[in-house]
Amino acid sequence: MAEQTAKRPVSVPLMADLAARGESPEILFWVGCAGAFDDRYKRVTRAFVRILEHVGVSYAVLGMEESCTGDPAKRAGNEFLFQMQAMTNIATLNGYGIKKVVTACPHCFNTIKNEYPALGGEFEVIHHSTFLQQLINEGKVTAKGGESFKGRRITFHDSCYLGRANNIYEAPREVLEVLDADLLEMKRCKTNGLCCGAGGAQMWKEPEPGKKDVNVERAEEALATLDGDADVLLNLQGVESTAPVLPAGSNRGGSVIAVACPFCMTMMADGVKNKEREQDVQVFDLAELIASAEGLNA
């Protein structure tokens, strides 16, 4: 069946407006601070909204009523500030009668899902990787009609707060499978995944003195996995690569490090830059890859 495409402006629905009209959305999209302010992650937020618009799900965002979940304060030991933030947000969400929250940030996800209930905030909380997986399973997203990832190498970097913290390992991988790309696993993946170095409020401080930055160690592993660089992998992980070697200057250009967390995004992109590979390896969030494969970017 032929398709006609058109560029359509999106007016992102605000929860306050819906409430004023007496409507309640199916999901509340919790954007998070990185999704709202970080220039790189704003593109992920926009990609995810394009997917929401494309599948026609009823959603809303809090806009300026949203505030930090308190995650970085809590991990840094400032429990008081965390609870102030938590109770303010819970009051906002409960005020609107929100039942279901979807977010693209594993830290927001973990905090709202696990730590808000004891403070009076009981919601169904879904990370966008699980949400995208559901859309794919329902056939609402097919990853066709846009950019092709066929044959390109992609490796997924597990976010600690999605993986070990909440046991979500398969959803992001099933999302990537729909791209028909060449998926490669790093040795340190899933339960053994190596942190990007940003968690526990490290994102906002300089690292302690050491030999290396964590994100560089992780970027080296991701790049060597994508390149099939057996020597580097042997040194980093004690295993040899099973992927054919991509020599420098060949078709390395299409390789992607896939992430599902704003802080992993920053750390991995910085790590790739540190290894001077930003020309041929890109770091993308799941939502960006899907929106691009589905041809939703306008």
Partner: protein
């Protein structure tokens, strides 16, 4: 049955051995209970299931196959050979000889299995010794594994070999004695039958050797039992309660401090009734508990149970992103520090005394240590270690007995931030950004919705011919 002075002697030795252990166990129990209360009741089925899988079943050991198999041999050897200890106890008390022989073919199966396992244990212990001392495994190095812990690890291996040698001496001498007397010894002895050639042909000497082996085995076990509370080998007991009381909530879920919840609720709603503060049994107001942990008694009792369950294998440290990249943080050291500190401040076991091995011994560099006040925070664990943690839970995931170093790290961070306002300056900036802007960065809250400006989507509509 030949009741003799030996049996009375054995009774005395056994009572002394178990009595001494009970006395030490009480001290350790008291140490663990100095920790703060935490309600770990309920979910008994889930906890038993977890204990069955992780403690009895060694599930998490199998993340690394080589040590898992070696450990499995020693573990099964320990369990099966201890069935024979029951026999030794009965024989020793009542003057019987190989009391379990009434089991018939089952006794042959038991003794045969014991012998094979005993030999495998010796081989596994040699492999362990090699891995630990010839330096093929990086996690057996590190500043916290000097002096006592290094000695302790080897002592355990030597004792295990001595126990096995005693077992084989007893069996082989007994076997040869019976062979020379033309009698059949009940049981099967596949290994000892290979060793009889090494033993003398003198009947008296064989009888003495059998007794020496028997006594060395049981006295060795009783001594080892009393060595456990001073050793990382205590994990053979503590792993079970530790796994039983492990956290059942998602690893990403950190505790919410209840006293802070009351304060915040009172701030947001002036009509909120804060519960009355705790009182001492005599009715006077109890001293307020600090936020977070400065010393071991500020941690929960489960954190102290963790410390007694640690076998210092270093799997936590070997996967810690901070440690891997050369930072000072080592989750294993935090757990070892906790145990050393609780024994310095409260009860110490029989052999190990913390003064043998103070906080300085395993901290490098030492400049940041508070050498006058040996509190857990600053006296043992420095803020630099704590601030290097990414809270990634890799250490928690890696621990074969479900120890949670992250909880202790967060409790100490809480003390630094809430009691001492001693966070790194960049984190204080982040805190004030959250307070003022509702975001950890210095952006204006009014710009929070700007991401939605000029947003377009490609709309696809099917074209019907």
């Amino acid at each position: 049955m030949h009741f003799s002075i030996q049996n009375i002697l054995f009774l005395l030795v056994a009572v002394a051995g178990f009595g001494l252990f009970a006395w030490q166990a009480r001290k350790i129990r008291a140490n663990i209970l100095v920790g703060r209360d935490r309600d770990m009741s309920g979910h008994v089925n889930e906890r038993l299931w977890k204990t069955l899988l992780v403690a009895f079943g060694q599930q998490k050991m199998f993340k690394r196959l080589t040590p898992a198999f070696l450990h499995l041999i020693v573990y099964i050897g320990f369990i099966v050979i201890n069935i024979e200890v029951i026999e030794i106890m009965v024989d020793g008390l009542f003057g019987t000889h190989r009391f379990l022989q009434f089991l018939g073919p089952l006794y042959s199966a038991l003794t045969g299995t014991n012998e094979v396992l005993g030999a495998l244990v010796v081989l596994a212990v040699v492999a362990f010794w090699w891995r630990r001392n010839v330096g093929v495994v990086r996690r057996f190095t590190g500043p916290e594994l000097r002096a006592w812990p290094k000695l302790d690890a080897n002592v355990i291996l030597y004792v295990e070999v001595i126990l096995m040698v005693a077992l084989f001496t007893m069996n082989a001498a007994d076997l040869k004695l019976h062979q020379l007397e033309g009698k059949a010894l009940p049981g099967a002895f596949p290994i000892s039958s290979l060793l009889t050639g090494l033993f003398p042909d003198n009947l008296t000497a064989l009888a003495v050797l059998e007794r020496v082996g028997w006594w060395a085995h049981i006295v060795g076990i009783l001594c080892f039992l009393n060595y456990l509370p001073s050793s990382k080998h205590f994990h053979i007991i503590m792993a079970f309660p530790n796994v039983f009381y492990s956290r059942l909530v998602p690893q990403g879920q950190f505790s919410n401090v209840d006293s802070i919840t009351h304060e915040v609720k009172a701030m947001m709603d002036p009509s909120y009734q804060v519960p009355a503060p705790a009182t001492n049994p005599d009715g006077s107001a109890a001293a307020p508990t600090p936020f977070g942990a400065k010393d071991v008694d500020d941690l929960a009792w489960t954190n102290l149970l963790n410390a007694y369950s640690c076998t210092e294998c270093g799997r936590c440290t070997s996967v810690c992103p901070a440690n891997l990249t050369g930072k000072l943080l080592s989750p294993r050291k935090i757990i070892m520090d906790t145990r050393d500190r609780v024994e310095e401040k409260y009860n110490s076991p029989l052999i190990f005394h913390p003064s043998l091995y103070g906080p300085e011994a395993k901290h490098n560099p030492q400049e940041q240590l508070d050498k006058e006040n040996h509190t857990l925070l600053r006296g043992y664990v420095t803020p630099e270690e704590l601030w290097a943690c990414t809270t990634c839970n890799a250490c928690v995931e890696a621990c074969p007995v479900n120890i949670n170093p992250l909880e202790s790290i967060i409790e100490m961070r809480r003390f630094l931030v809430l009691e001492e306002s001693a966070a790194p300056n960049s984190l204080n900036v982040m805190f004030s950004n959250i307070e003022n802007n509702g975001a950890p960065w210095a952006f204006s809250p009014s710009d929070r919705f700007n991401w939605a400006d000029d947003l377009f989507v490609t709309e696809k509509t099917p074209v019907t011919a």
